[in-house]
Structure formats: structure tokens, C-alpha cells
């Protein structure tokens, strides 16, 4: 039996209610967007890339608590990171979301996303903004979609 508190931890509820870095970034020089056509979730990620480093990052969008909290956590964790660092963190987070295994303390508040793996229908909600962020940082202008085909 999966307890709901596994999915909706205090950290998730807090970030859903008060998403951090929820704005259009005036200094952004990269934008990435993503959508989940099955549920209608949308996210736009704004990145100010200084050389190889994500100097600042923000997002806007709409979706469920999991998607909003994950996007909020994403901005806190990728800000200040180089692209290879951001890719490594994102890789760890993807593993966390899909397996629930927390590697070590490094992921800190991101561990709140571990419960998502028990709810397979919700995994894409949590991963969308991370892919959109990497897309933005790496300058790939194509929107991310969680589905290969259309709805």
C-alpha cells in the first residue's frame, strides 16, 4: 500500500503552493517549453546562459502539484550549474523519479520526488520540466512533449 504522503510530501505541497522562480526571466537568452498532451500540462523554462553556465533560471506553466513542485525544485537545483553538471543532476533525478532510489544526501529536497515512482501515471508530470530545462540550456528549440504521437 502506497501512502499518499509518499507522493504528496510537505516539500511537494509547499512548492506547489509557492512555486519558486515562477516568472518570465527578463535576462533569459534561452527558452524551452514542454507539454503533456494527455493531461494538458504545460511548462516554459527560461534560462540565462552565461557561457556554459546556467546563471539564472525560471519557469511558468500550469499543471498538477507534482509537475509544479518538480519544476520549482528544478529551478533551485539547476541554477548556477554548468550544462554537464545540470545533465548529471537531471540524470540522477530521472533515476529517482522512476525507481524511487535515493542515491545519497546530495539530492537533498529532491528526495521528495522519490514517491512518484509508485504512481506510474504521474511520472511524466515530474520529468517534463527537467527535460524542458535541458533543452533550453542546450539551445534545442524544439518543444518537449511527453508523447511521441499526438493525442
Amino acid at each position: 500500500m502506497h501512502d499518499l504522503t509518499d507522493l504528496y510530501q510537505t516539500v511537494i505541497l509547499d512548492h506547489n503552493r509557492r512555486p519558486r522562480n515562477y516568472q518570465v526571466l527578463p535576462t533569459a537568452n534561452r527558452v524551452g517549453s514542454g507539454n503533456n498532451p494527455l493531461c494538458g500540462d504545460e511548462v516554459t523554462v527560461y534560462v540565462q546562459l552565461d557561457g556554459n553556465r546556467i546563471a539564472d533560471i525560471s519557469f511558468q506553466g500550469s499543471g498538477c502539484a507534482i509537475s509544479q513542485a518538480s519544476a520549482s525544485l528544478m529551478t533551485l537545483n539547476l541554477k548556477g550549474k554548468t550544462i554537464p553538471e545540470a545533465e548529471a543532476i537531471t540524470g540522477d533525478v530521472m533515476k529517482l523519479i522512476t525507481t524511487g532510489n535515493v542515491k545519497d544526501d546530495e539530492l537533498s529536497d529532491l528526495a521528495a520526488l522519490a514517491g512518484v515512482h509508485q504512481f506510474p501515471a504521474r511520472i511524466k508530470c515530474a520529468t517534463l520540466s527537467w527535460h524542458a530545462a535541458l533543452n533550453a540550456a542546450k539551445g534545442d528549440a524544439k518543444p518537449i512533449t511527453t508523447e511521441k504521437g499526438s493525442d
Partner: protein, 410 residues
């Protein structure tokens, strides 16, 4: 005499189970209904006793299967009050039926400048096939709006300006899968006939929920899905007026739909066989006919009354007991579909939390994205009732929604 609805639940073995430690409360009937044991039995009897290909067979099993398959067509004609079984085409479902008409009738009869009239509340299945047809032919789409506010009723004030002689086809849903609105189908068909437009009625949400009479309605085409009315998935019915079906070219080619075949050209069988290329969905057609028997034993008038009663109770209780909630659709004269939006809680979170209480809801855009945008909603949660649901279950739903609201307010 109303059927004893509480006893009806015993006909549905799936309802007798626990989900997350709670008795299953199935409120996703607008997506698909559950199946009574008699329908499950009809499927397994076919496969166990007389599975065989239809039409060309001379042996005993094939004759028995053919007889049952054609009897299902006759049953479907009776269910919809079609003039003849020749007006009944078996399809894979509502979507398939609409695509058949859009291709076979549409490609032949529409040209640039013609108008296909739709409404703003159409399911994607009664929108996208017409968008594709418009792209192929140069025809234009036009929409009857939904009135401002949350009642979701069609705004028919300017119908005469929209339903002009340029309109060649008017396709609309009988019952909205998001709003629970029941549209005045007979009135709309009569208005279309006056300007010479054909009508296609999407009856996916009304078949099995209320009496349907295509002759009284006056529609030219009507489409239904078996699985939303106690039947199996993958089977549906397209009703088409016989003269229209006979005049239409085939949609798909293959065996069974021809009268003679040469290397370079073929002649078509008459409708409905012309539209049923290949081995048809024999088992599901037979089981669908059993579902129709079952529904008529209960009485479709009675089912409609029960649906409407549950929807009215749910609408009133949710609206009065959950502060700030937006409930869509009219308060009365509605189907058993009740959609709502809880401020501060996304529909998918609501559905996930309700599932922990054993309640099956649906959350999202319900294949109604343009309508959702118009209503200023990203998504809604939807409870959709059928005759095996009870007032006690509404109590459970309301209590669960109260908990969910507190959870996200905390």
C-alpha cells in the same frame, strides 16, 4: 416500476472488489461503462461454442455465427428504431463511425466553400475527422458557441445565421461528455433539414442512457460506442439513412464488401456490407446485442431518470458542500456527467487522491481542449454516473472531496 437498482449491482462482478482498501466506487462511466455478467457470457459462449467466420461459410458453426451476427444487426436497428437493418453498419466505435462518414460521404459530397457546422462542445472525435475533411476538400468549419458561464448550454440565439445554406453537414453531440448537457437533437436536425444540410449525431454519451429513436430525431447519421453502454470495447454502430448509405462509396476495401472483383476493378456489395470490409467484429457485435437486451430489460426511460436523479443530487451536494468549487453544466435536465474544478487542486491531484479512497474519477481535458480553454480551465475532474451507482456513493464522493480540499488547503 423502477428496477431495484441496488440489486442490479450483482449483475456486475467487477463492482465487487476493493481498491486501496475501499469498496470500488466506479464513477468513470462516461469513459467506459462496466459490463454485466450476461454480456461477458455472450462473449465467452460465442468463443466456446460457435466461434467461426461469417457470411461465406456453409458449415454449421459458420451458419450459427452468421445468424447471430445478423441478428445483432437487427437488434441494433430495433435499439435505434432504424427503418431497416440495412441502415446499421458495425464499426469499431463512435470515432470509427465518424471517420467513415467523413471519408465516404465527405470526400464525395463536399467542395471548397461548403461549411461543416459543429459545436464548441464536441469531443475531439467529432472535431478532428472534420478538420481532416476540411483540409482535403477546402470546406470550412463553423461552430455553434456555448453560452458564457458554466451551464454549458448551446447558444442557439444565432442559429439561423450559422445554419445557412452553405452548411452541407451539421455534426453535433447529443450529450456532452464534459458538461452533461443534453442537446435538443430533434430540434437541431429539423433546423438543418430546412437548409438542406445533413446531420450526424454523436450519441456516444446518450446511447444506453436514454431512449434513442433515429426516426423521431430525424438525423441522417448517428454513431454510438458499445463499450459505453454495457457492451464490449471495439464495437459500435453507425446508423445512416438507407438512401445515403447506398449512394456512398466504400470507406475501406477488402473481402466481404464486394459483389464481384476483377483484377482492375470491383463492384461493391450494397450497404451495409459495403462498409464492413474484412472479417467483422463478430463476437463483440453479438455481445453488444446482448447489452441492448439487458438495457431494455431495465428500461431506458428508467435508466435516464435514475442517471438524472443521481446527477442532480451530486451537482447540488458538491456545489453546496464544497466551498468555492466550480461545477459545470446545468443544474437540471442533464445526463449523469458531472465535471467540477476545485480551486487550488489540479484535476490529476484530485483524481489521485480520490483513487486512494477507492473512487474512480477522470481528470483532464476530456478530449475537449478548445472548450476547456474557452471556460478558462486547464482541466476538470469528472464524476460520471450510471444506473448501478447509488446515492450512498455520492455521499462517499462528497466526503472524499471535502478531505481533498482540506489536504490542499492545509
Amino acid at each position: 416500476m423502477s428496477p431495484a437498482w441496488q440489486n442490479i449491482r450483482a449483475d456486475f462482478p467487477i463492482l465487487n472488489q476493493k481498491i486501496n482498501g475501499h469498496p470500488l466506487l466506479y464513477l468513470d462511466n462516461a469513459a467506459t461503462s462496466q459490463k454485466p455478467q450476461c454480456v461477458i457470457d455472450a462473449l465467452s459462449t460465442y468463443y466456446r461454442e460457435y466461434n467461426s467466420n461469417v457470411h461465406r461459410g456453409i458449415h454449421a458453426l459458420s451458419m450459427r455465427a452468421t445468424f447471430a451476427y445478423e441478428a445483432a444487426r437487427e437488434r441494433s436497428a430495433k435499439f435505434l428504431n432504424a427503418a431497416t437493418p440495412a441502415e446499421i453498419v458495425f464499426t469499431a466505435g463512435t470515432t470509427d463511425g465518424i471517420n467513415l462518414v467523413a471519408n465516404a460521404w465527405g470526400d464525395e459530397n463536399l467542395k471548397a466553400g461548403d461549411v461543416i457546422l459543429l459545436t464548441e462542445m464536441e469531443h475531439h472525435s467529432n472535431l478532428v475527422p472534420w478538420q481532416l475533411l476540411a483540409r482535403r476538400t477546402g470546406a470550412k468549419l463553423r461552430f455553434i458557441p456555448v453560452v458564457a458561464g458554466d451551464t454549458g448550454l448551446l447558444d442557439l440565439a444565432n442559429l439561423t445565421e450559422l445554419l445557412t445554406t452553405e452548411v452541407k453537414l451539421f455534426a453535433f453531440t447529443h450529450v456532452s461528455n464534459t458538461l452533461g448537457v443534453i442537446n435538443p437533437a430533434a430540434e437541431l436536425c429539423a433546423a438543418a433539414r430546412k437548409v438542406g444540410a445533413l446531420t450526424l449525431v454523436d450519441a456516444a454519451q446518450s446511447a444506453g442512457h436514454m431512449p434513442l429513436d433515429v426516426q423521431a430525431m430525424g438525423c441522417d447519421f448517428l454513431v454510438i460506442s458499445g463499450h459505453k453502454m454495457c457492451g464490449p470495447t471495439g464495437i459500435g454502430v453507425l446508423y445512416g439513412r438507407e438512401a445515403l448509405l447506398q449512394a456512398m462509396p466504400p470507406y475501406r476495401g477488402g473481402g466481404s464488401m464486394i459483389s464481384s472483383v476483377d483484377f482492375f476493378e470491383s463492384k461493391w456489395a450494397p450497404a451495409p456490407q459495403k462498409f464492413e470490409a474484412g472479417t467483422p467484429n463478430i463476437a463483440d457485435a453479438i455481445a453488444l446485442a446482448r447489452a441492448m437486451d439487458y438495457l431494455d430489460e431495465l428500461g431506458r426511460e428508467e435508466i435516464a431518470r435514475h442517471d438524472e436523479h443521481l446527477a442532480a443530487v451530486a451537482y447540488a451536494r458538491i456545489k453546496s458542500e464544497i466551498p468555492g468549487i466550480r461545477v459545470l453544466g446545468p443544474a437540471h435536465h442533464r445526463s449523469g456527467v458531472v465535471s467540477f474544478a476545485l480551486p487550488g487542486a489540479h484535476a490529476h491531484d484530485v483524481v489521485t487522491l480520490a483513487d486512494r479512497d477507492g473512487i474512480a474519477l477522470r481528470g483532464g481535458h476530456h478530449c475537449n481542449q478548445p472548450l476547456m480553454r474557452k471556460l478558462g480551465l486547464m482541466s476538470t475532474s469528472r464524476a460520471s454516473f450510471y444506473f448501478y451507482n447509488t446515492e450512498d456513493e455520492i455521499e462517499r464522493l462528497v466526503q472524499s472531496l471535502k478531505k481533498i480540499q482540506q489536504f490542499f488547503a492545509a
